[in-house]
Symmetry: C2
Subunit: 365 residues, 2 copies
Amino acid sequence: MFALCSLCPAVAESVSEMKSEFEFIKRIRAEAARHSDVSADLVCGIGDDTAIISEREGRETLITTDLLVEDVDFKLCYAPPRCLGHKALAVSLSDIAAMGGVPRYSLLTLAIPKQNPQSTIHNPQLEEFWEEFFAGYFALAEKCGVILIGGDISSAPERLTIDSVVIGQCRRGQAVRRGGAHVGDGIYVTGEVGRSAAGLELLQRGERMSEGEERPAQKAVRAHLMPEARVEFGRQVGERRLAQAMIDISDGLAQDLAHICADSGVGAVIEYDAVPVAAEVMLVAEDKKAAFALAVSGGEDYELLLTAGREAEAELIAISRACQVGLTRIGEITTASETEFESKLQLRRGGRLETLKARGYDHFL
Amino acid sequence: MFALCSLCPAVAESVSEMKSEFEFIKRIRAEAARHSDVSADLVCGIGDDTAIISEREGRETLITTDLLVEDVDFKLCYAPPRCLGHKALAVSLSDIAAMGGVPRYSLLTLAIPKQNPQSTIHNPQLEEFWEEFFAGYFALAEKCGVILIGGDISSAPERLTIDSVVIGQCRRGQAVRRGGAHVGDGIYVTGEVGRSAAGLELLQRGERMSEGEERPAQKAVRAHLMPEARVEFGRQVGERRLAQAMIDISDGLAQDLAHICADSGVGAVIEYDAVPVAAEVMLVAEDKKAAFALAVSGGEDYELLLTAGREAEAELIAISRACQVGLTRIGEITTASETEFESKLQLRRGGRLETLKARGYDHFL
């Protein structure tokens, strides 16, 4: 755990230029202090062996961690540092949103390459890199009311590695689990799917983010590099207890729906024509069928996938409008088919049912 | 956050042999379940978007994270995987102990190299590596009553990176901070210092850990590879409110004492002859002076350094005996010398006072 004693100006110098690791931590601490509102429950943030948070009766702590490894989860040749800082926080915020919780605190762990000759465009040694990274991180933290309360820093031989912890809260018993889906529930998804996967494909083909441009390719690239976690929608759905089950789409819609089905002991039928495939997917897909496949298997959309009874639908739609987030009913929870052991997911296309394969991203395939 | 749905046999297959990342997570989850007692406050561990912990009025949550990067914080050529699993947890347990808290839960994040040709001795691709790693991790977790409740896994291009989060608890207002030292407090340290630094030096000179051997060199090597966090001592000191300030010696005694002094606005005088320098330091130091320097500047001892009033001394000694941990009074807290701005630490040697430099390990020097 990093921990330092006195405040000092904003993150303004590079790791290589700084006197020491402690100087770097001081700057992060100062930035954290500058961007944070006072939290009544936060006894101690950065600055001791551990952070200290007061507990309250009737409340639950939610905690999640997400790892981003250079050249596996991102490449510095296409990920601007400001986007990387944003995304490092967004991926964990999304997990809190998927529980219907309120994100409150974060910890950030960085393994920083001493030298990274392969990263000529955005070298994490450079002062500007960390200014931009923390600008992205703290802008999102501030928007969502999240306070950075700790972390750790190490040097690394080659690759930048980021571990992002977010701590959220909800009222006792209110967290929306994966295992609560019931037969007959509608299946809903926020926003559109596949845009992030299309963006990644475009980045791999050489497209680069360009500020201010509104071309579809830029929209896709931005969705991949700066995903928007559905923090406010998730919070309201959780608070009003509208969802039976909820998960964020990080592994791909089909894979994440399979998680809900497995944990709930149910099956699901998805309507082919109902799935809100992002228009940008056609930039990289040969036909509509390929676009659909990419949209349901490509991960990192960070939309929320939830199941809810009919009686909740009107309120869900009202919340989605208030949050300016699309919401689409894409299918229904069914009984788990005993004969379809491998996949509990079915797809209705042109009146016929077929198996929908639950295949998302896997780090070791 | 990793999250899976069904239990399965213990960690028994290698990453390369396993069908997928999800299979690997299933095995970790099964191990976590096998090694954990039921915790009344744990609503959900591994298996959803986030872990869920019930809060209680009058209690505080302590949270810390520590990063271990291959070839920076450890080398696979000398760190047996069982030791690495142990140490990954121990370093964060030590932070909770330094707050006087009780460790309760942990999260573990792993960036695992797909291929690591440089690591011929302990290749993290191998089944045995992870069996041993988790045997070390869970043995310590079980001993300390800690439950693994989450984490994340990614592949990595080259180096194994481990991020270890531990969550602890204490009664409200009871956490022992760094900033509480008072002028006149005695300064105490558990165990002996410098053994870990000596062990690291011996490892770098080619010494390797050998089970069952009791040579001094082996004792030093073991102290570095399998440090013992002072969990029970820290917990009792916290519970009985005996310490004014406490920190664990991860950066080196002088550096960590400097943190206490800076946060408390005080100075410190250390008695040269009182510091419990581990005998093994002489295996790598040329003379007694060099041994002292290594002992107070070498980090990773994970002993506890605390300050306390005279009235607490008898009880502190009683606890140290009950915990079978040595405890030595090594000096006294003084007023911060205005003229000694750079270092508030002084060393009394042969009746004369000199400046003690606060220099520990720094990742970027």
